[in-house]
């Protein structure tokens, strides 16, 4: 019998983590993500996993990296104010190539902002929040089921590419309850990090293979290696040589940007004949689908382009899908962020890009999105 449940997005995220093999969680309480920590504090001990509530968000991110280095699939969950603090060690996880998952259930900001209301204003923070050049993967669930499946995908990508992956959710998706059919064991493939096949003497923990990804040994497995947040060589030791530093940064960039086919994922909904395409993620994508329903009833050809991977940005696919459209409307719960990426990508194609922005903490209603579409096609 299928395991059908009616649960919150945050709960589905926790269950997805367990399904993906997550066995270590470190966190700090914050609305609207706390249900993830609460559920994992209950679930992890039952599967011989470890849960710890740390003294602050910074420590939680540090502990997650430690847990992953000790060989456990590791995760933390937070919201904007906590994400700001996690960025320090997120950068560390990037340069040291530590697989881990960070869930950001977005709420209104800046600062403490609107703790119990949704926003999508951390999109650029996810990409550029921590200092220095580094690639990042961020996935965007839009339903309770996707909170489960995208968390699994986040772990798979983290393990496949030895990289932190952000699950960029929002309060709408995190807190709403919806029907979910829990996948059976084996239904979604699970990826585990590559282990070294060479002896400890030959092991270079930061030497990429053909896919640019270095195999990763866990601490305690006999490979005594060094991990540092300083720019380092393939053996992991600090270096000053500008050339080698650049090479390392480029390899880390390539391991994401040369593997886009394994990372990108989009939903393209009713775009084939669409004259106007709505670009939206997460909660806003649901409002937009509602709007498309209304617009189609009125004979207006509207469609939806919804990236499930928002970083790296789906440049080619967006260009392809929008090639025949006249207008693109970017709907986001902020004052205009991802619209700049869309403009950058579609800039020279002749498609007109407009936005619908709001930071009130109230989700867009389908009618407000539909009205904006009518406005822009009238011009």
């Amino acid at each position: 019998m299928a395991d059908i449940r009616f649960i919150q997005g945050n709960e589905a995220c926790a269950l997805g983590a367990i399904y993906a093999g997550c066995r270590f969680f470190a966190g700090y309480p914050i609305t609207p993500s706390s249900e993830i920590a609460e559920m994992l504090s209950e679930e992890l001990p039952l599967v011989d996993g470890a849960f710890i509530q740390m003294e602050d968000e910074i420590a939680a991110m540090a502990a997650v990296i430690g847990g992953s280095l000790a060989g456990k699939k590791s995760m933390t969950a937070t919201s904007g104010p906590g994400m700001s603090l996690k960025l320090e060690n997120l950068g560390y996880a990037c340069i040291t190539e530590i697989p881990c998952v960070i869930v950001n259930v977005q709420r209104g900001g800046p600062s403490t902002g609107l703790p119990t209301s949704p926003a999508q204003a951390d999109i650029m923070q996810a990409r550029w929040g921590t200092h220095g050049d580094h690639p990042i993967i961020a996935v965007c669930p839009s339903s309770v089921s996707e909170m489960f499946t995208e968390t699994v995908r986040a772990f798979n990508l983290a393990e496949m590419f030895r990289t932190p992956v952000i699950v960029l959710s929002d309060e709408i998706i995190g807190h709403m309850r919806e029907k979910i059919v829990i996948p059976e064991e084996g239904e979604i493939p699970i990826v585990n990090r590559k282990k070294p096949k060479v002896s400890p003497e030959e092991y270079k923990p930061f030497k990429g293979e053909e896919d640019y990804v270095p195999p990763m040994a866990a601490f305690g497995e006999g490979y005594r290696y060094h991990v540092t947040g300083l720019s380092h060589n393939e053996e992991g030791f600090p270096i000053q040589s500008g050339e080698l530093v650049h090479q390392m940064n480029v390899r880390m960039h390539n391991k994401i940007y040369k593997n886009l086919d394994k990372i990108l994922k989009n939903e393209v909904y009713m775009c084939d004949d669409a004259e106007v395409i709505i670009f939206a993620i997460g909660g806003s994508a649901r409002s937009s689908k509602g709007a498309i329903r209304h617009l189609r009833e009125e004979g207006i050809k509207a469609g939806l382009f919804r990236p499930l991977t928002i970083w790296p940005f789906p440049e080619d696919e967006l260009r392809r899908v929008c090639s025949k459209a006249k207008n693109v409307l970017v709907v986001e719960m902020n004052l205009g962020q991802i619209v700049f990426e869309v403009e950058r990508v579609l800039g020279c194609t002749g498609v007109r890009v407009d936005g619908l922005f709001d930071s009130s903490g109230e989700p867009f209603t389908p009618l407000s999105v539909a009205n904006r579409v009518k406005e822009i096609i009238k011009r």
């Binding site: 059908i4 449940r5 009616f6 703790p115 119990t116 209301s117 709408i172 807190h175 709403m176 309850r177 919806e178 029907k179 909660g283 649901r286 409002s287 689908k289 509602g290 329903r293 989700p363 209603t365 389908p366 009618l367």
Partner: protein, 178 residues
Amino acid sequence: MSSRYEIRLSGSGGQGLILLGIILGETASIYENKNAVQSQSYGPEARGGMSKSDVIISDEEIDYPKAYNVDFLLALTQQSFDRYTREVKKGGIVLYDSTLVHSPREGDYRLIGLPLNDTAIKDIGKSMVINIVSLGAIVKISNIVTIENTEKALLKRVPKGTEELNKKAFYAGVNLAK
């Protein structure tokens, strides 16, 4: 024609509206193989203040998770009645508590006043089961899910040892709405 049915449960914090929404959602999604979404909006207070819980039930995929063209409004306070009747669609249903809502305004909707709170207090002996009494009334009036399936979902959800009490409250609500 869309089968989307929007229910808004409104009142004050502590009246159990979120649980009420969950039971409706579970009935539809687990026992009737429909789709359902429940969401809520809330402030920082754990008790008191305005409380709102939306349940959308549909045979199709549900996109927007909040109610904006309400088919059925439950209002358990005057404040929530005043605020949310505006969003009820033409011909929708407004069920209100006939003692907690003292001046129900007429509109383009079907207005039904029932002594939900009094029934919880007098018949069951606990005002806190107002949500379960309301559940019985909502199911009976709306027919959106069956009484039998709702009873199953209710009994699975409530704490052990309180099944009889809740069942009694549920059927008190069903009978009120007859």
